[in-house]
Amino acid sequence: MAINLIRKLAAAGILFFASSAAVSAQTLVFTAIPDEDETKLVERFRGIADYLEEKLEVDVRYIPVKSYAAAVSAFRNNQVQLAWFGGLSGVQARSLVPGSQAIAQGVEDQAFNSYIIAHKSTGLEENEKLTEAVRGKTFTFGSKGSTSGRLIPEYYIREAFNQAPEEVFSRVGFSGNHTRTLRLVEAGTYELGAINYSVWTKELEDGNIDTDAVKVIYTTPSYPNYQWSIRGDVNERFGEGFMDRVKQALLDMEDKELLESFPRSGFIPVSNDAYTPIEMVGKQIGIID
């Protein structure tokens, strides 16, 4: 009886390995960092997949991931060839994949900002600097790997207080993404939070923020952020000039609805060098080795 079972299991194992071999090599797979509610991301990037498929004449597939690191790993492992990264995740990913290029960023990403937002119970008002008044409050970042929700706010907190966030605030958390940071501070679960200005602005326009409960109290200086990054070996796989075609397709994107979903007014060319400041900040904080 046991032998029989073993035989069946062995057969199952062989079938399993055999069944996993058939995936088309001509599919361009891309991903994006999960910085907002997943439903929104899936909607947005399915639109992008359709758009790119039409422009590039190859199959294009979007896969949602659960963490920033998963997006970076998928890019590094060549399971995705193209990705919409934040500043930091882009730097991390490109340093791991020789030859990979930042090809396009949003117009707004040239000078991006982060906001520190506060629940009304703190009584804090908007200020040009981070003052001692925020000390001892509870604070949430977005994802651990986020540029606008973690790296840059942490940099300016360290600069203002000469201390790590854990020493400045009574409790430091990581909400996971910007939408959740907003909800948590709005509900008062955390008194303060760091959020990407573009998510804040869009949610505000859509009427999704209870402005009586939460407000912006500080804006960071500007820095370069989100970009499309592509692996260096795509030309070998998809044919000569493929990287340029992807780049051109992104730059040519004019569909109002698609751009609105980011939200970006359009995409412009960019190079790896534009993200040197992010890399330096990452090294300073110890997120990048």
Partner: protein, 488 residues
């Protein structure tokens, strides 16, 4: 009473937990915890089964991963069980089962990526270690007499298959079926790190506050587990096991070069990689210990000890709910439903839900661990208490509970509790991924920072801590002469 060793041990653990509680962060930080909890329960009673297109597929994948993972695990575990006497095998098995499925998944994600193999191995590897241990215990307990009666010259394999296996076949089958249920839970939570199982959609719905969607998924999961006796039939098993690999989904193709890179580059400590040699390794390890490992170990221990005692208290309070000696059939059915729900919900999902509602502190984790583990132990000793014959003139009510039943089940209660000690610690570590500062938090942070060398050191530390607690738990059980059958 104080001279009884079991009472003494209980009081010592209670005292430790109280001291830990003084150091633990158990605040409810959300502004409206009860309103959110209310919204969640409203969602559960108004489930929306048709909102998300992917739920049916996710359920199918959850079952498929569980079947393939558990089948592979039981096969490898069985082979390992045959050579379990070997100390190297023992240590190897202890090590692979000390690492949680989610940690395995996080490791495999780095080089297999989103391929079905990641999920299958994440279940199969730790389960092999568990199966090896339990199968070998079961085999050791079989009666050797039939083997001695065979004529000389009978082959080793024939002897084994015709004398040992039939004698313990029922136990092997029961335990394997039981592990399958655990496998379904493990499979479901793998979705939280990105595999296409139930956890993936549950996380999506929950994090967006879509409680009716989340409620529907939880209900479907309970139904799936509660109906297992109906759909898992011995005759259908070969069909399931052969069919399951075809329902794992395609995922993305594996690039084998990544595997080599992971083992030869990624997990090599960065000072060695940068050529600083052993001189650079010491400060690197030192920094890792002081800033991450030690705080992680401290919080893991705190949370484990508190959760262990909370589990015990809850189990003692819950077992009368299903005991024949209390209440009528209606209340017992209610009790069964309550305990089925608490023990079928993985701790990770319970903790995730409570963290969303109450904000991040150790409290949601303690409650989640106590509910899940207390549900399991409560169920086991409740069932045991129903088998106890009381005198016709035995006291009723509270006195029956305190003077008749608790003393009679207390030893097996403690045995189960100490058995689950290590399991609670494994879970405690993993709950760090959700934002509580246990070892899992630092493992997750290292992975988020793409520093796999640090992550691996922390995972190994977690495993060693688990092995330590496992040894201690076994020592205490032996000392108190407590015997138990393994629980999930």
């Amino acid at each position: 009473m104080l001279s009884s060793p079991t009472v003494k041990a209980s009081l010592i653990f209670l005292a430790i937990a109280l001291v830990c509680l003084a150091f633990a962060d158990i605040a409810i930080t959300s502004a409206n915890p009860w309103k959110d909890l209310g919204r969640f329960f409203l969602g559960v009673v108004t489930p929306d089964f048709f909102s998300s297109e992917g739920v049916a597929v996710a359920l199918l994948r959850t079952v498929a991963f569980a079947f393939v993972g558990v089948a592979l695990g039981s096969l490898c575990g069985f082979i390992l069980a045959l050579v379990y006497r070997n100390p190297v095998v023992r240590v190897f098995c202890a090590f692979i089962r000390a690492i949680h499925e989610l940690f395995w998944a996080l490791i495999f994600l780095q080089f297999f990526g989103f391929h079905p193999l990641t999920g299958v191995l994440a279940i199969a590897i730790p389960y092999s270690g568990i199966f090896a241990k339990v199968y070998s215990e079961i085999l050791d307990e079989t009666d050797p007499t039939p083997g001695r009666l065979l004529p000389p010259g009978t082959g080793v394999i024939s002897t084994f298959l015709y004398t040992r296996i039939p004698a313990c076949w029922v136990q092997l089958r029961t335990y394997t079926a039981y592990r399958l249920e655990c496998g379904l839970r493990s499979s479901a939570i793998l979705g939280f790190v990105g595999l296409p199982t139930l956890g993936f959609f549950l996380e999506t719905s929950f994090s967006q506050g879509l409680y009716s969607e989340a409620g529907a998924m939880l209900i479907l999961f309970y139904v799936l587990i509660a109906t297992m006796p109906i759909w898992v039939k011995p005759k259908l098993l070969p069909v399931y096991i052969l069919g399951a690999p075809f329902f794992l989904g395609e995922g993305l193709p594996i690039v084998w070069g990544n595997v080599e890179r992971f083992f030869t580059e990624d997990i090599v400590p960065s000072p060695l990689k940068n050529g600083e040699g052993l001189a650079g390794l010491v400060p690197w390890l030192n920094d890792l210990m002081v800033t991450e490992a030690l705080p992680g170990i401290w919080n893991t221990l705190l949370l484990t000890q508190i959760a262990l005692v909370a589990t015990g208290i809850l189990a003692l309070l819950a077992f009368p709910l299903i005991s024949n000696h209390f209440g009528g059939p209606v209340r017992r059915t209610g009790g069964h439903v309550f305990l089925v729900i608490t023990r079928s919900t993985p701790e990770y999902i319970l903790a995730y839900i409570l963290l969303q509602l109450w904000g991040p502190s150790m409290l949601p984790a303690i409650v989640a661990l106590a509910l899940h583990n207390g549900g399991i132990i409560g169920h086991l000793i409740g069932r045991q208490s129903s088998g106890i014959q009381l005198r016709p003139d035995a006291p009723i009510g509270f006195n029956r509970y305190t003077y008749e039943l608790v003393p009679r089940v207390y030893r097996s209660f403690l045995a189960f509790l100490f058995y689950r000690w290590e399991i609670i610690m494994r879970e405690t570590a993993i709950l760090g991924i959700l934002g509580i500062y246990t070892l899992g938090f630092y493992v997750d942070s290292s992975i988020q920072n793409i520093q796999f060398d640090r992550a691996m050191v922390l995972i190994v530390i977690t495993a060693l801590l688990n092995i330590g607690v496992d040894i201690l738990g076994r020592y205490i059980r032996k000392k108190l002469a407590l015997q138990t059958m393994p629980t999930c």
